[in-house]
Symmetry: C2
Subunit: 333 residues, 2 copies
């Protein structure tokens, strides 16, 4: 087995409490004796290769130091940008002594065992949670922080200003002379507040551009969009894609049909991942600093757990996106 505070206590000829306190840094060491003791204890601990048993500590403190990443849709969470978020989440949490626990919410009741069985101290989510999950969280009084979702004003959240992103994208296209612009949301996309936000940003920009009547909004299948883009003489000349999925699919489809981008059609995507830069053509996209979402998110849950967030009022951090102009957009005629 491993070295415990008792073995150290014995060698140092002090009580186990003292060892624990010193090693934890809970001693001011103002007195001569305490300082001497402290040094001796630390020396012995080092020699014996002591490491506090994290489980014992957690158990004793009544904390788990685990933060659950609750998700219903793994396609969403394991996708490009969100992985960047997860990555920074892991690191930021770790630097604060916490660790991330993946909690897929599915028919199996594993998630209940985890939430109710005291395996986590708080939760992080990318999307709105099913009612029973929320209830479980509430029952255990576990703080929750939403990432990139503002659908619930009662919990803290770090969100991306999707309105601004869509607005900028639309204005960009308008500035290039496009008049008939489409906002494309693939029908496989699950409901999410960003859809509405982006739509509002899009609508507002079209209105400001004086093109409101020429806007077309679609929450649609690929076939319908492609059809719409190819037929009729009032077809859109610019498309703003809800995410990389739509952009990828669209670029591919247009390539198949011989529609040249950006000559014949301008396309703007959302979310800037590595691959978008290397698409053919490189994709003009609305990007944002995904790492910050993780950093803020981690900070917020931990603060709520440690009760540093005294007020109790939900915190809100907003990340400003920026338009990254690349090769998939061009002046219309």
């Amino acid at each position: 087995m491993s070295v415990t505070i008792y073995e150290i206590a014995e060698r140092a000829d002090v009580s186990s409490s003292t060892v624990a306190r010193v090693l934890r840094g809970d001693v001011k060491e103002t007195q001569v004796r305490s300082a001497t003791n402290a040094n001796k204890i630390r020396k012995i601990a080092r020699e014996m290769g002591y490491r506090p048993n994290r489980l014992a500590r957690a158990f004793s403190r009544g904390k788990t130091y685990g933060i659950g990443l609750l998700y219903t849709d793994d396609a969403w969470i394991f996708e490009g940008v969100n992985m960047t978020v997860v990555n920074s989440l892991v690191r930021e949490l770790q630097s604060r002594g916490y660790h991330l626990v993946f909690v897929p919410i599915d028919e199996s009741n594993a998630w209940k065992d985890i939430l109710l069985g005291g395996q986590i101290d708080g939760g992080l989510v990318f999307q709105e949670l099913p009612g029973d999950v929320r209830n479980a969280l509430d029952e255990k009084e576990l703080p929750l922080v939403m990432l990139g979702d503002n659908s619930d004003p009662t919990v803290s959240q770090v969100v991306v200003d999707d309105f601004a992103g869509a607005y900028a994208a639309t204005k960009h296209l308008g500035g290039l002379g496009h008049e008939r612009i489409m906002l494309y949301v693939h029908d496989s996309i699950k409901p999410h507040c960003s859809i509405g936000e982006r739509r509002r940003g899009f609508d507002k920009a079209m209105e400001d551009l004086g093109l409101a009547s020429k806007a077309s909004f679609l929450h649609s299948t690929e076939e319908d969009v492609i059809h719409c883009l190819q037929h009729g003489n009032s077809r859109p000349t610019g498309v703003i894609c809800y995410s990389n999925l739509e952009a990828t699919l669209l670029v591919h489809a247009m390539w198949q049909y011989g529609v040249s981008i950006p000559k014949d059609l301008s396309i703007i995507g959302f979310n800037d991942i590595f691959a978008t830069k290397y698409m053919t053509p490189p994709l003009t996209t609305v990007g944002f600093d995904a790492e910050r979402i993780g950093v803020y998110g981690a900070r917020m849950v931990v603060e709520e757990i440690d009760g540093e967030n005294t007020g109790g009022a939900p915190q809100v951090e907003v990340i400003k996106p920026k338009l990254i102009v690349r090769g998939s957009t061009a002046r219309f005629r």
Copy 2:
């Protein structure tokens, strides 16, 4: 606080041990009394909303039920295929009562606290580990399973038959009439056994094709490869890319230079992720069932922890890749 076995014991008028045993299913219930008791206990537990405290259980059993995912290179682990692996790892582990703990290995000593502080029961790795990490693992006698890496024959592993993958890719190109074929490994790729494996598969195929003298192997920068591909009349007509990175970069570069794929140049990638199917043109690639890596990997660590792997001899599972022919390869002339 939560409901404990003691409260249930009191109400059911039995000892806490009995409660624990019944709720854990450690009672055969052959006798009349035991069955009656068991039912009563379960009923009360249900009514009170009892959930076993997982930390207490873990602490008491001397197990953590955490499996560390140890990694030095997050670009690698958070990349496409490997995320699929992680996803299945999470689920498979969860179904066995374990959870995955991300353990980035960096200058901070956080990883030491986790390994030595008894936060995990075993480890999973995608790449060879630094010596001190291995030592820590050995010291604590934590089983380790390698994923997609066969560099250490002393540990269990689930690997992809990269030799076969590269062989098939090369043969495919050879069959299409290509004679000058290049294997491209970007210089940012960190050392990994698959590089050697793929190279050997490539070499063998070239030899079998009678083209050995026309093979060119490069562990090189993008510039060099592009230059090589554009100048000289003995330039390669087919390229096998080590991963999606090279394929993405190359397709992009060729597009910039007006080299048409697959007319002027055939390209084969490695690893089949969603986007490759939608590249322009869709990428011919060597794919494999990434989920199985996770499933096997999880199974193997857990078995080693539970001591089901009696022999002690390292297990080896090999995943067979298959060539997925799409639009980036064509007959040469």
